[in-house]
């Protein structure tokens, strides 16, 4: 479990995160959404221990991640947005570096590489960005870690690979894993992420499960005008309107529409979900 208490973070006096408190529970894939520059990557790097909070505290299983002890690091994997090639074959990289993660499984690595249709015998410095990303995804999942912090993991992946990534993520993470995915590509991960965290400048606007969202907001796909809609979108082939779900009618959550709704009605949504 991850616990964030009154977290503050600033770059040269410019506050990025202010008084953020939340809890992330075991066995969930958290989707971290937000506009550019709201601090998604900063939050991920704080969670994995690459940064230190200015104020407040983060506890991962009761311990400060910034201590970066081998035990803590072996229980987590941080996948940055930009990945760098190593001057070796993917299999050699996995063999060389995997041994530092106590749960690393080379067979699993090869299995995931095969699933992602990647060649483990190819040199990493001759791979495209997408191919490289797949190697790191396979490596990360083969580490059998409990905590995963993935920054834009689908960036650079082609359309079939995005589907394979979803498959790999759901098949190869532990039951108790906490996966935090920061992404702009909400459609890539629509059916995977739950709960959803939507960030705004310095603040968290929403932190709720899909069930909680569906309970409080109704997503109307009929195309019929909804007079009290909080948000409506009528693009060709995509008509969705969002309104308060006072009748508690079930509907499928559309994350993109949810994101826009939250951004149009920040205080209303915060109030609605903080009740």
């Amino acid at each position: 479990m991850i616990e964030i208490q009154h977290l503050d973070f600033a770059y040269n006096g410019n506050k990025v995160l202010e008084n953020i408190s939340m809890q992330m529970n075991d066995g969930c894939i958290y989707g971290l959404l937000g506009e550019n520059g709201v601090g998604k990557t900063t939050l991920l790097t704080l969670l994995c221990g690459l940064k230190k909070p200015k104020e407040g505290a983060i506890f991962v299983e009761g311990k400060d991640p910034f201590k970066r002890t081998p035990e803590q690091l072996a229980n987590q994997y941080y996948l940055p947005d930009e990945v760098s090639p190593m001057a070796m074959k993917a299999s050699a990289f996995a063999n060389e570096y995997g041994r530092f993660w106590t749960g690393f499984d080379m067979d699993k690595f090869n299995e995931i590489m095969a699933l992602l249709e990647s060649d483990a015998e190819q040199r990493m410095d001759r791979m495209s960005n997408g191919q490289l990303k797949k190697v790191y995804i396979a490596f990360a999942l083969a580490c059998n870690a409990k905590y995963y912090y993935l920054d834009e993991p689908t960036n650079g992946l082609d359309i079939p690979s995005k589907a394979l990534f979803r498959k790999a993520l759901s098949r190869y993470t532990r039951e108790d894993s906490v996966v935090v995915i920061s992404t702009h590509q909400v459609r890539d991960l629509e059916n995977m992420i739950d709960p959803i965290i939507i960030m705004d400048k310095r603040d968290v606007l929403l932190n709720a499960t899909i069930a909680e969202i569906a309970d409080k907001l109704y997503f109307d796909y009929s195309g019929e005008p909804v007079p009290d809609a909080l948000y409506s979108e009528n693009a060709p082939g995509m008509a969705v309107q969002v309104r308060a779900n006072d009748e508690h009618v079930e509907s499928k959550v559309n994350i993109e529409a949810l994101f826009n709704t939250v951004h149009h009605h920040k205080e209303l949504i915060k109030g609605m979900f903080n009740k």
Binding site: G49, L50, R68, V83, T102
Partner: protein, 287 residues
């Protein structure tokens, strides 16, 4: 699991880092192998131009040049190894890979220090000495006088004491001086590689010239109240005018003066402090 130091984990990590460093150093192996040939080429060219014959005999006078070359190359590797092998620690991609690897900060720092200060220069020097030995075996006909190893053990400098009108022979403590100087340079650039995001070389030079050198100088004054701490200072203090380096023949007689341990103690002390500082930086590095 020991969270600070585990010998098995450290050995595995050191090996992994060594392989990575070897890959990053690539061209330096060749550079070192070839560098030893430069004084020879110079002599060949000199003899060809002025005496019109390719004599190998003049090679024996190249001690100073050989030493100068070694110092230059050591300075290059003292700068290049830290920047090439650890410059990536400030990048988001590779830097996070480095800091997120399940190895303790102490082990990471120790491995950095061992690779930069001991293993890489030793391996690179090995390449240099191998080429040097081949050259000696080919041209110096087993006398060993050309060898850089021989020069390091037998390097002296004649100094003229102008006020007393005498000539002394000063034994130059090449090994400790060179090693201490290399350690200071390499550690300064290691710190620069880990701290600065950009312009690591420029900041490294500034840190070395303004910071480290000044502190060493100050410490020298503290350790040596009579202020004759270094070779150059001693020469000035004694009102000596130095001549060139030369390799002392075994039967040479004269007044031999050696530098004491205290004379060269400042650089190792500063190096030790820089090692501790590096650990603190790695331990608290934010990316």
């Amino acid at each position: 699991m020991n969270q600070i130091f585990n010998p098995a984990r450290f050995a595995a990590y050191l090996l992994t880092e060594l392989k990575r460093a070897a890959g990053r150093l690539g061209g330096f192996w060749t550079l070192f192998g070839v560098a030893v040939l430069l004084p020879v080429l110079r002599v060949f060219m000199y003899n060809r131009v002025y005496y019109n014959h390719p004599s190998y005999e003049a090679l024996t006078i190249q001690a100073g040049l050989q030493l100068f070359l070694v110092l230059i190359i050591l300075s290059i590797i003292g700068i290049a190894i830290p920047l090439r092998c650890y410059g990536m620690t400030t990048e988001r991609g590779q830097g996070s890979g480095f800091f997120m690897l399940p190895v303790s900060s102490f082990e990471k720092t120790l491995s950095m220090i061992l690779i930069t200060l001991v293993i890489a220069p030793a391996l690179l020097s090995g390449v240099y000495l191998l080429t040097d030995s081949i050259l000696v075996a080919t041209f110096a006909k087993g006398t060993g006088q050309l060898s850089i190893a021989y020069i390091f053990q037998n390097l002296y400098m004649t100094v003229n004491n102008s006020s007393k009108n005498t000539v002394s022979i000063l034994k130059v403590n090449v090994f400790p001086t060179v090693i201490a100087s290399y350690m200071c340079t390499a550690l300064t650039f290691l710190i620069s590689a880990v701290i600065f995001r950009e312009k690591k070389f420029t900041f490294g030079i500034l840190l070395h010239l303004i910071g480290v050198s000044s502190v060493i100088s100050l410490l020298n004054q503290l350790l040596n109240p009579d202020y004759v701490p270094t070779l150059i200072n001693r020469i000035h203090h004694e009102d000596w005018v130095s001549n060139t380096f030369f390799v002392c023949p075994p039967d040479m007689v004269g007044t031999f003066v050696s530098l004491s341990l205290k004379d060269v103690a400042a650089a190792p002390i500063i190096s030790l402090i820089m090692c501790v500082a590096l650990f603190i930086i790695v331990r608290n590095k934010k990316l």
